[in-house]
Symmetry: C2
Subunit: 191 residues, 2 copies
């Protein structure tokens, strides 16, 4: 049960965007820039980093919603997403992404855990400074989103199908539409 009074029709972070639209704006814009807007890292790669960090933080809502978006970008390959969460070192992903996931794993533990050697490994695998930067910021940002979602006790749907449906919308439309979407829904016009 949520620790504060939230719109019960909205799950996870969406109930928090509805509760505090002022902070929803920058939180959604940050996610859109990091995960959706054009980048030399594919959307699938970036969603896998977000999903992996969310699984390390044991946030069911975030790892399931972003896992579904990652799977959408991978043509529906849910197995690859589960493989990354279980053991990314043997998953069917690029060597570069493995080195970036290793950095993300350190960031989840704490910023000072990242060693120069971790970044060197990523650069040797072809990662640019911007890709390293965005990996660190995605991992750090999900240490925020995960704590926000679970720290206020929001609820999460348990059926995989609802995450899958939502994933298609977000994967295509991005994250900037979420605040107005939420506003729309709290007017009782849930589509």
């Amino acid at each position: 049960m949520p620790h504060i009074r939230l719109n019960e029709e909205l799950p996870g972070i969406r109930s928090l965007f509805d509760f505090r639209p002022e902070t929803a704006g920058p939180l959604c814009r940050l996610a859109d820039i990091l995960l959706h807007q054009s980048s030399s890292l594919s959307r699938a790669d970036r969603e896998l980093i977000a999903t992996y960090v969310s699984s390390l933080n044991d946030c069911y809502y975030c790892q399931t919603s972003h896992g579904a978006i990652a799977a959408y970008h991978l043509g529906g390959d849910e197995g690859a997403v589960l493989h990354v969460k279980r053991d990314f070192t043997t998953a069917p992903i690029s060597r570069k992404l493995k080195t970036l996931l290793a950095i993300a794993e350190k960031v989840q533990k704490g910023g000072k855990q990242v060693a120069a050697a971790d970044v060197e490994n990523a650069k040797k695998a072809g990662a640019t400074d911007l890709e390293v930067h965005d990996t660190v910021l995605i991992a750090a940002a999900f240490c925020m989103y995960n704590r926000y979602v679970d720290g206020l006790g929001t609820w999460a749907p348990q059926d995989a199908e609802s995450y899958k449906q939502r994933a298609a919308t977000v994967a295509e439309g991005g994250y900037n539409r979420i605040p107005s979407d939420v506003k729309h829904q709290t007017n009782g016009q849930i589509p």
Copy 2:
């Protein structure tokens, strides 16, 4: 030494805002809403929450810069800030702030650490739902900012005076001015 190539004249998160102005926008807006814009929680209280979480995350740059801003809002009382970092339960602060710092401490460990009883304690001490929400989001956001600053190996000034000078500017002007400020400075026009 920073893990990526950053403007060496700018310390901490300011070098990262300069490196990636796109993400600097929402990151500064979020800080401004949570720490500077009007709220039933005083600016001093909110900066103390940010400082305390940053000290738990062992982020020197963030705990020193926000600690200096908290002290500014407390009329220069640096002792109170150090007392909160050392043991907030005996610090000269309100009972309500102590219950909010207890929530922030749990959020730093992980979102699921926050128990209904922690929030009940805060409400009994007079905290509103919005104040509980903002406390959780401030704590979660600093779990991001701290990891961002340290995960990319940014440098931090070691002299207290520079933090004190900067604190006055940010305490009065807020956080939204930071990106343009950084842009200004990277044009070689450091004031």
